[in-house]
């Protein structure tokens, strides 16, 4: 039998849903929110305004940055649940650099990223050396680092002029230039750069190709001469790097480091990256898809708040949307990294 005959015919409804389902959901939500938030006084939508669009983009920025990191882990068919804790560590650490130690922006940011890479080191040892399944290994690291951040900040928030444990007042202030990183346009520019980097890396470099090969079929990858362990480690390092950048942006945006602020980004990021699988029928973790997923989650949140859905009911809808997106991806059985 020749290969040509075996090719499935295209254009069935299932294929269409897989390919365009997520985009269609976004468009439908967009229209729904535009008319659902129609203001009779001004004769226009409160949703569809320039400032609200920027609000949405700003809101999705941090999620996107962290989720892009996760995208690398997913590309090698791993799972990094420690991203939230990593972001929180970055958030706390960069703040203490300014507030406690008065260090300048460049060094603070660099130091923070380096410290956060310790997460990747531990993840790599557990996953590659001890062969613990990715998800549980990262889960234990998540707990560990949630504790690390808390212990480091002595269980409290980091704010300007806070009173430290020894009774003295913290000497430093958060630089204005750093705060600017957390506002538009810079925050959005950082996000766009991160997405473009990941897109380029995964689609146009050999390293990206190897990562997908490792994720798709580790045995064949190994027997083709790809150093599988090294690429898994690289994926976890990239994941930790972007999680820490996300945490730094969070600090810049809020101006303080609240307890567990970074941890809250775990689930939306996981959502975004997994929704990304289905965007345009990629069937695998990809940068553009992750961005689209983050926008979907962010838009949903924004629109629902406007429509006065109470905050405590929000997660019901967010969870349901994730379930639908995943159903669209997996139901056709085409997904690459689905086990």
């Amino acid at each position: 039998m020749s290969g040509v005959e075996k090719v499935k015919k295209k254009g069935s409804l299932g294929d269409f849903v897989t390919k365009w389902g997520t985009i269609a959901t976004m468009v439908i939500l967009f229209i729904l929110f535009t008319f659902g938030n129609w203001s009779k006084e001004t004769g226009s939508s409160m949703f569809l305004t320039q400032s609200n669009m920027i609000t949405i983009l700003r809101a999705v920025s941090i999620t996107t940055i962290i989720a892009v990191g996760l995208t690398f882990a997913l590309a090698v068919n791993g799972m990094d649940l420690s991203i939230g804790a990593t972001a929180q560590l970055a958030n706390v650490f960069v703040m203490t650099c300014f507030v406690w130690h008065n260090i300048n922006i460049g060094i603070s940011v660099l130091l923070t990223v380096v410290i956060c890479l310790s997460v990747a080191v531990i993840n790599s040892i557990l996953i590659v050396k001890f062969k613990i399944p990715d998800m549980v290994a990262a889960l234990s690291v998540m707990f560990m680092y949630q504790g690390v951040s808390m212990t480091y900040s002595k269980g409290g928030a980091i704010t300007e002029r806070m009173t430290r444990a020894d009774g003295t007042q913290a000497p430093g202030l958060v630089p204005e230039a750093f705060r600017a990183l957390g506002k538009e346009p810079w925050l959005i520019i950082i996000m766009i750069c991160v997405v473009l980097f990941a897109y380029f890396f995964l689609n146009f470099t050999k390293h990206g190709r190897y990562m997908y090969a490792v994720g798709g079929n580790p045995e064949a990858a190994e027997l083709s001469g790809i150093p599988v362990a090294r690429y898994k480690i690289l994926a976890y390092f990239l994941s930790a790097t972007f999680a820490s950048i996300g945490g730094i942006c969070l600090a810049a945006r809020v101006g303080t480091a609240q307890i567990s602020a970074g941890d809250a980004y775990l689930m939306p990021s996981v959502c975004a990256a997994y929704i990304g699988f289905s965007v345009l029928g990629a069937g695998k973790a990809n940068a553009f898809g992750t961005f689209a997923g983050a926008v979907l989650v962010g838009m949903l949140e924004n629109g629902l708040i406007m429509m006065s859905v109470p905050y405590y009911a929000m997660n019901i809808i967010k969870g349901a949307v994730l379930a639908i997106a995943l159903a669209m991806t997996y139901a056709s059985g085409k997904t690459k990294n689905a086990n």
């Binding site: 146009f204 050999k206 190994e222």
Partner: protein, 503 residues
Amino acid sequence: MNEIKLEMKDISIEFPGVKALDGVDFSLTSGSIHALVGANGAGKSTLMKVLAGVNTHYTGQISVGGEPVEIRCPKDAKNLGIEIVFQEVDTALIPYLTVAENVMFNTLVNKMGKKQIVHWNEIKRAAKAVLEKLNVSVDINKPVSALTLAQKQMVLIARCVVEKCRFLILDEPTAPLSNSETLELFRVVRELAKENVGVVFISHRLSELYEICESITIMRDGMLVTNLPLTKELEVNTLVEYMLGRCYEDNYIKKACKIGEPLLEIEDLTEKDGKVKNITITVCEGEIVGVAGLVGAGKTELCKTLFSAYQHKSGTIKLRGKVIRAKGPTQAVKNGLALVPEERRKEGVLISDSVVSNISVAAMEKYTNKLSVVNKKREKEDARSMIRDLGIKTPSENQVVSLLSGGNQQKVVVGKWLNKDSEVYIFDEPTKGIDVGAKQDMYELIEGLAARGKGIIYATCEFQEVLSICDRIYVMYDGEIIRELKAADTDEKELLYYSTGGK
């Protein structure tokens, strides 16, 4: 003890495109041990799977003790007291449950009825009793994952005994066992025969059958050749002749190739866990070297050890006279080795990737600049020319490999290494599961490589293939190379003789 006779008459079965069994008669008496032999693909396993209720669409009659019966599902077979132990014991065991639970598995699953609570003491007592009866010493509280392969087999046999089996089928039980383990297995099997169990013993190791079996059935090409009592007078050579039947004349004739300098020299290579031992092989430029052996002889293990996918504990690998140290496949590839593995879908191709990415994956450095950016245009051009050269049937280079046929997938794997321009190509069962036309293409391809001065290692259990395509042949048996033969001076009979343990 009353004898019960299991009889199969005129059994035929068809799979799409092949008649796997054609009017086979087979009979087995309880309390006896009966050998079933045949070359690869003769239909031994297919026949036994009919008995076990796995192959359910057979035609013909089966009777037990004179009563006609139908076996249309595994449950039917179990009710008749027919049990089978497949070669892959791990598929039938649950690794993290204890020996006791695995032995009593069927009781736990099917015989609980309305009971909700497991009586562990009872289960353990019963399991212990059975193992004691078989005289097997295994700690019943150990998880099965901690057992050796031989012990796992015992657990499975014990499970069959718990089920009060009257007929037990052992599908190549000795293939993965060492000598002492084999003796232990024989003891247990004899024990069972004393208990009036009829045992079918499938094996490729002809010489060992004399020790344990009273009679033998020989099959070939899905048909029964003969039934004989197995006595010392019946020589291994005669058995081999029956297995092969008429001489196969493969119509593929090898073109002569100039053989050059030694390319790859392996000396005394032993795998870390002893899967292959004391391997000494030389491959020259333009030479096709066969590694022949039956299923389970250790050919795949040999290929993987050569490729450093399995670690070796002693021995040297020399490439063009220089000793190379290869710690893993990544280095092996850098050194110029290429492996076309047996498990094509699992290990050969990136199954859900496109033809292009598969062809370029081992040779990415050809397409990348200093920043590792891939030149997709050149990659595509190369893939296209490779598709053309190898005659890969695919609508485009962007087709996902999983949608190609087996033969074409195999060509993609070969294309991957051609693109890399490796020096030594290791083929492990390259024609497994591909059709005749694709086979022919594969032979031509391999010869083309040899003509370009590459060294080829060709491992297979298809003896006609090694005879027609190889220059020299190493015969493997039980993880070791036991004979080196010139392809021109040998025949299928001799190969089969050595690979069944003849000396």
